[in-house]
């Protein structure tokens, strides 16, 4: 099974910045496994891509609050569709392998029934492969890869916006303190900095 890449994180980095980085890595892993995935002679490729799709979906859900809502829902829906198609293709592979092992341990009397089941599974495997092929085309048409990277960029940009606003606020307060206690100051930061500090995001809480 393909091992996931370890991603370095620190406890105090902003949640959204970690989200951006982790989603980018998991996106790259998913699409790196796409090559040759329709080859029914090599069933491990489908397995690896399926595992990658699960990991990607998991991190999208963990960090959902960091992404623009509408784009996130649309991307998540497409990742789920792809994961389902990978499952439809993968499950018969697993069952066929199990049936072949099982049949090998059976007496000749028991084998005809298992072969009937294996034939049914092979048909499902073929249908699963067609479904997966159609879904991979759809993924390319809808630029799922690009949209996933755009989600990461949006999460990162929101963090940078917050940091810039926080820096600006801190500078304004420092300037206010340097101007002295007689400066006209009601304790509130300037309105334009308040506006800059309001990120354009939906709270997942």
């Amino acid at each position: 099974m393909a091992k996931q890449k370890d991603i370095k994180t620190t406890p105090y980095e902003p949640f959204a910045r970690a989200a951006a980085r982790i989603v980018r890595v998991r996106t790259h892993e998913l699409f790196a496994h796409a090559e040759g995935v329709l080859d029914t002679e090599d069933i491990e490729r489908v397995h690896d891509m399926r595992v990658a799709s699960r990991r990607l979906r998991a991190v999208l859900e963990i960090f959902s609050v960091c992404f623009p809502k509408a784009e996130y829902k649309s991307v998540l829906r497409d990742v789920k569709r792809l994961a389902d198609a990978l499952g439809e293709r993968r499950d018969p592979d697993v069952h066929i392998a199990a049936m072949e092992d099982f049949a090998a341990q059976q007496t000749a009397t028991n084998r005809p029934g298992i072969e009937a089941l294996a034939a049914d599974l092979r048909e499902r495997q073929g249908r699963g492969n067609e479904l997966l092929a159609a879904e991979l085309e759809r993924v390319a048409e809808r630029d799922l890869h690009g949209r996933l990277l755009a989600l990461s960029d949006a999460a990162e940009a929101a963090t940078e916006g917050e940091e810039a606003a926080a820096v600006a606020l801190a500078e304004a307060e420092t300037e206010g303190a340097a101007a002295g206690p007689d400066a006209a100051h009601d304790g509130a930061p300037p309105a334009d900095l308040v506006a800059a500090a309001q990120p354009d995001r939906e709270d997942g809480a």
Partner: protein, 175 residues
Amino acid sequence: MKARPVKGLDPAGPLADDAERIVLVRLDELCSFMPRAADPEEVVALHDMRIAAKRLRYVLEVTGNLFGPYAVTAGKRTKELQDVLGEIHDCDVLVPRVEAVLDGLREEDVGAVAAGAQEPPHAEEYRGLEVLIVKTRARRKQLYARFLELWTELEREGFRARLEYAIAERPAVAA
């Protein structure tokens, strides 16, 4: 099974604090399936518990290094639980599938015998499929016993309390 929403997440807040909130909710979700899943007939509860274990495992895989050392161990133990529940689920999916194939063969045979066949054409295939069902159910019993054993181990080792403690820790960050 829809995941419970996690309140109070702040995209600008520290990663470990938000991750702690998520782990607490996912851990509670997982534990909420007992004692219902202690009944082997509770197929849906066992399936949902597997999904809950998967969610907890994935969040610990990504964030376990942010917390005290037991968090990484808890991720591995959760994976063990997920794996055994996954194998139980595979049995629960396979048996109805085999029964459906058997039903299909029987229906064909009813038609064939009604049309004049002396013997059901698929008679030789029934036995292998029945043996498969018996063996799958037997395996499911063994797996279920393993699941209960594993859950008891987790309770004895204080899995929940230790993980709750670990996620409140913040190891020193290397310079």
